[in-house]
Symmetry: C2
Subunit: 450 residues, 2 copies
Amino acid sequence: MERIKPRTLSGFMELLPGKQIQMERIMGVLKDTYSRYGFAPLDTPAIEDAQILLAKGGGETEKQIYRFQKGDSDLALRFDLTVPLAKYVALHYNDLAFPFRRYQISKVYRGERAQRGRFREFYQADIDIIGDGKLDILNEAEIPAIIYQVFRGFGLTRFQIRVNNRKILGGFYHMLGLSEKSGDIMRTVDKLDKIGKEKVGEILREDCGLTQEETAQILEFMAISGTNDQVLSALSGYRGRNEMFDQGLDELEAVTRNLAAFGVPQENFGVDLTIARGLDYYTGTVYETTLLDHPEIGSVCSGGRYDNLAGYYIDKALPGVGISIGLTRLFYVLDEQGLLNDKLPTAPADALVLPMTADPAPAIALAQSLREEGLRVQLYGEQKKFKQKMTYADKLGVPFVVLLGEDELAQGKCSVKNMTTGEQVTVTASEAAQLMKTTLDTREPLILEK
Amino acid sequence: MERIKPRTLSGFMELLPGKQIQMERIMGVLKDTYSRYGFAPLDTPAIEDAQILLAKGGGETEKQIYRFQKGDSDLALRFDLTVPLAKYVALHYNDLAFPFRRYQISKVYRGERAQRGRFREFYQADIDIIGDGKLDILNEAEIPAIIYQVFRGFGLTRFQIRVNNRKILGGFYHMLGLSEKSGDIMRTVDKLDKIGKEKVGEILREDCGLTQEETAQILEFMAISGTNDQVLSALSGYRGRNEMFDQGLDELEAVTRNLAAFGVPQENFGVDLTIARGLDYYTGTVYETTLLDHPEIGSVCSGGRYDNLAGYYIDKALPGVGISIGLTRLFYVLDEQGLLNDKLPTAPADALVLPMTADPAPAIALAQSLREEGLRVQLYGEQKKFKQKMTYADKLGVPFVVLLGEDELAQGKCSVKNMTTGEQVTVTASEAAQLMKTTLDTREPLILEK
C-alpha cells in the first residue's frame, strides 16, 4: 500500500494524552469558575458568512482570515469570539435577557506567519457581560474578580490584574491639547515596560512631534505609582480640568472599591496608568493580567469596557465588558517554562485493573465498583505476560495498579500497588477505593509559580 | 452606519442559552463516563492537510469536504474523527501506550445539501480502543458496556444496544457461495427494518440476482430472533461449515457473555443479525443503538471492530474497536420530539442575588459565600426598579432569587424566593445555600423516554 506521511500542520497544537489532560484541567477551572458566576455557556459555529465576520474590515484581520467558497457561499473561519458574540446578540436580541452574560471557550483561526509559539488555531476563553442600553459599573469590578478566582483556581497567588480607564487617558491628553495625537501617544506609552522611559520620551518627541514640556508631563503622569490609594489620590490632583477625566476617575475609584468588596486582595490588583490596550473599541475600564514571576510572558488575560458591541448588525446600544484568555498560547508558554505541575497525575486513569484469573468477570466487577466510587479505572484485557502488563502501566503513568488473582479472589480482596512508592497492600475493594482516593486527593496547584 | 443583517449559516446549529445548557449536560455525561473508563481526552486540529484527510479517497467524502487553499497549503476541515485519530496514532505511535484509549467530542464538517435536521457542522462523540498488533475481544464488550452507562447517565432505560458480527454474515454468505455478492446483499438486508421482508426478498432476487432458494435461506437466517441465548443456540446449528462463521460466532458468544459480566441487563442488548453497518472497514463485532420508544430516530450510536486503523499512514497492524454518537443530530431530534427534560433548570444561574442596599458590598459578599457552597450565582448590579429586576429573573428562568435589603442585613439574614412555588423565606446565608441545594438536587433524567 502506498502510504502518506502523517503530519500535523504547523501552527496547530496537537497534544499527547498527558498534556491534553493538563489542558483539560485548566479548561475545567475556567468552565467551573465562569459557571459559578452565572455565565451561560455559548457555542457558535466555527464557520460564518465571510461578510458578517468582516463587517468591521481592517487590514490584519483580512489578511489572516481563513476565507473560502463552498458552492455559492463566501465563508470564513472565526478569528475571535467577539465578532460571533456580536452577531449572536444581534440575531437573538429578542430571546436574550439583558444583562446577557456568556462564556465561550472555543478555537479561533488566524493564518499568521508560522513562528515558534504562534498558533493558527488556538483557544480563546472569553467572558462578556452585555447590557441593553446601560450597564452598571459594578460589572467592571466583577470581571477582574472572576479572573482572580480563575487564577487562584489554577493554584497561583503571584499574579496581578492591572486596571486602568481610557477616559482618564483620553481626558488627560485632552487637558494637554493632544487629543488628536492620543492614539499615537498611547501606542508609544504602551511600550514603557519594554523599552523604558528614555526611549519612549525620544519617540514622543521625535515621531509624535511633542514638545519637551509635553513629553515631561506625560512621563510624569505615567510615573504615578504606589498603592492603589496613593495612585487614586495622585490622580485626584488632576480633577476639575476635564469632564471625561473626572468621569474616568470616578469609574476607576468605583472599580477599585468594588474589587475589594469582591474579596480581591490588594496585592492581586493594581491601578496602572500605562495600560491602554491596542483595540480602539475599549471606551472605559481596561485590564491586563501578568504573572509577577514571569513578566516576559506579557499579559495573559486582557479586556475592558466597550460601548458598542454590535453596531454593525443592529441599531441598539449594547455596551459591554469582557475579558479574554489566549489559552493555547498560555498553555504553550507554561509548558515551555516547566510551570505545568507534573505532580498531578497525567494518566487517563487513576487505576489499571489487571485480571489475573482465567475468567475476567470478577475483575470486570471490581473495576466497575471502583468506578462507582468516583475513580477513573481502566480494565486491562490483553493476554500478555505480567511484566508486559506492568510496563504498560508504567508507560501510561497510572498512579495505581490493582491486581486480582485467585488468592485475592478467595479472600474477597484485591491487591493495590502504589506505582510511585512501590508499596503494595491486599485489601477489600472498598478499602482500595478509599486508599486510592485519599492518596489522589492532593492540593497541588495546576500551575507552578516558578 | 450601514448595517449587515446578522445570520447564522443554514446547517449550523447555534443554540439559545437554555438549550446550550441542556447540550452541555449531555456532553458532561459523555465526558464523565468516558473518563471513568480510562479514556484519554483527545483534541485534534479542525484543519488538516487535505492530502492526509483524503488518503482513503471516496466519492461522497470528496464532494462534501470543505477544502481550501491558504498560501501554498491545500487544507481541509475534518469530516469525521476517525481519520484524524488514524493520523494521530500513526504520527505519535512511539509516544503512545497500546492499547490506546481515547475519547474525542469535537465538531466535524460536511458540506451536505441543506435539509431539515441535517447539519454541516456537527459534534461527534467518539471512543476508540486501538491495539498494537492485537486487541483482546474483551474490549468489544467493554465498548457497548460504556455506551450502556452513557445512556443510563442520560436517565434512559428503554434503549437497546444491538450487536452483530460481520464474520458471521461473511461466513454465512460464503456457505451459500454468495461471497462476491455479499456487499450488495448486506446493504439490502440492512433495509429490513425500513422496507420489510417482502420488499427485501424482491430486491435480492431481482437486483442481486439470487435464486428463490438463496433468498429464502437468507430471509430465514435473518429471521432468527428471541433471547440472546436462543439466537446463539440457533446460530450454533450452522457451525462447522465455515471457519470464518465459527470464529464470528465464538466472538459473538464472548461479547454476549462479557456484556453480562459488565452488568448490562439482558433487555438493554440484543444480538441482531440484520445489522451490518455500511462502512466496509468493520471486520468483526458491529453495534447499533436504538431508543425503543423512538425507532423512527434510527441508530443513535454505532460502531464496531476494525482491523486496520491507520494503514494509509503507517506500516503497523493497528486493530481497534470504537463507537460514535452523532451528538448534534441526536440533540436536534430529542429537542424536536420534546424529549429534553425541561424540569431540569436551564438558567445559567441557580440564584440571582438582588442587592437592595445602597452599598452593594454586603450583596457581593453574600453571592460569594453562596458560590463557595457550590451554587451558580449571578449578582444583579443594575440600577432598576424592583419589578424590572424580577422580570429579568423570570426571563432568565433562575430557580431562586435572593434578596438582601436593609431589614435582612440588620438581622444577618437574606430572603430566598423560590421562583417556581413563589414561596419566600428569610434565613441565614448558609441556610439559604442548604435550602437551594436541596431543592435543586433532583434525580430528574436529562432525556425523557416519551
